[in-house]
């Protein structure tokens, strides 16, 4: 009985993971864009009102981390997209 239970658990776990994969990708992109917009003045793009940026910054820990990670991953953006769509 136990192996079957474990198998089913693993199966559903996998199913749960893959079902949110695309939403997670989308979420990460949105968070990245959100942080990028707020920090755009660094790279010379018009940014939102400075006061607003300063007020939002303290709440942006997650988004800024995502943005930094994205900047690191950008080295290999094609590999990531290929991975997303199961292209080998």
């Amino acid at each position: 009985m136990e192996p079957i239970k474990n198998f089913l658990k693993g199966f559903f776990e996998y199913f749960k993971q893959s079902s949110t994969e695309y939403i997670e990708f989308e979420l990460r992109e949105l968070e990245n864009v959100f942080a990028l917009i707020l920090m755009a003045s660094f790279i010379g793009i018009p940014s939102p009102p400075t006061t607003l940026v300063l007020r939002l910054m303290p709440h942006m820990v997650k988004e800024i981390k995502v943005m930094q990670q994205r900047a690191i991953d950008l080295d290999d953006v094609f590999a990531e997209v290929a991975g997303m769509f199961d292209i080998d």
Binding site: K16, Q17, S19, T20, I23, E24, E26, L27, L30, E31, V33, F34, I37, S41, F42, P48, P49, T50, T51, L52, L54, R55, L56, M57, P58, H59, M60, V61, K62, E63, I64, K65, Q68
Partner: protein, 331 residues
């Protein structure tokens, strides 16, 4: 008395704009004195970084309103100090929260911010917002503004800020939607910073970013509603009967129209009036006449007041009272 200078719906806000050196400060001080004399509790605030309101009133002023005469209070805002203080306060706040995020090198960021383009406009807007939020303490608030360019940008800011806030709120809503969708399938999502677990907010009420965005939006909306309401705000342009101030006033008129800020009066300052003809300045008088004619043609529906060039500079309460009477339209 001109109706658009008096309080109608709560307090009245008057912005006095114009090119540098045309007499904005004198005009706003005269106006404030006249309104105070008429029994309205008046606050005059100088937003100009190059202050001379104190010189005109012949009083020493600070950023706290000070009583000059009955019903008249005056203050000069120290914009640079405000920017510095504001950034220092934020820097401290942020440093606490970003202990773990040393990567973005905050000190450098603040160094840049202090000189970043636009910070002055935002600080000015912030100052105006603060004064307006306590507007009910006064009947009339007169703003003596920095030269036209900066003022126009400040008056345009609320609308631009609203657009930004709305756009960011839109993206934020999408982010929260995605987070909710993921949380529904996978359960509560955690985010680990420096070993500290933080629950990712999924609802608008618990998301700090959304709360700030909404608070900011409503603050800016309040300023926007106030400065575009003809019952609350009037803009007075001061100019001299010369071509350059004329061009600048025209530009100001156009852009204020675009941002729906009511423009009511032109004070034509330093008009040379001669009793007999002086051949040496005949050309100047004629140029002056041409400008005046053009002003009357160009600005239909806008009141025009002429203030003559006095033999001495109008300073001190007595002078201001006299000039103020001319501006508000007292007999």
């Amino acid at each position: 008395m001109r109706k658009y200078l008096l309080p109608q719906d709560g307090f009245r806000v008057i912005f006095v704009i114009g090119k540098g050196g045309v007499g904005k400060t004198t005009t706003s001080a005269s106006l404030a004195v006249a309104l105070a004399e008429a029994g309205h509790k008046t606050l005059i605030v100088s937003l100009d970084p190059a202050h001379n309101l104190g010189d005109v009133l012949m009083e020493k002023l600070s950023d706290k309103p000070r009583e000059i005469m009955e019903n008249l209070y005056a203050s000069e805002l120290d914009m640079e100090g405000m920017i510095r203080e504001y950034l220092e306060h934020l820097e401290k706040n942020l440093k606490n929260m970003y202990r773990y995020l040393t990567v973005i090198n905050l000190e450098k960021y603040f160094e840049v911010l202090r000189y970043s383009p636009g910070i002055e406009e935002y600080a000015t807007l912030e100052a105006i917002r603060e004064i307006l939020s306590e507007g009910d303490n006064w009947n009339v608030i007169v703003f003596d503004t920095p030269p036209t360019g900066l003022t126009l940008r400040v008056l345009a800011l609320p609308r631009i800020s609203l657009i930004w806030a709305d756009k960011l709120i839109e993206i934020r809503k999408k982010i929260l939607e995605r987070r909710r969708a993921i949380a529904k399938i996978q359960g509560e999502q955690k985010f680990v910073v420096d070993g500290e677990e933080i629950k990712l907010p999924t609802e608008e009420e618990e998301d700090g970013v959304m709360r700030e965005l909404k608070a900011y939006r409503s603050e800016v909306e309040f300023v926007y509603k106030t400065i575009t309401d003809p019952k609350k705000t009037s803009v007075i342009a001061v100019m001299n009967p010369e071509l350059l101030p004329l061009y600048e006033t025209k530009r100001a008129y156009e852009s204020l129209k675009k941002f729906k800020v009511p423009f009511n009066l032109i004070v034509m300052n330093k008009v040379i009036q001669l009793e007999r003809e002086v051949p040496e300045i005949k050309v100047k008088i004629e140029a002056q006449k041409r400008v005046m004619e053009e002003v009357k043609r160009e600005f239909r529906g806008v009141d025009i007041v002429e203030i003559p060039m006095f033999q001495e500079e109008p300073r001190g309460i007595e002078w201001l009272r006299k000039v103020g009477g001319m501006i508000v339209g007292n007999p």
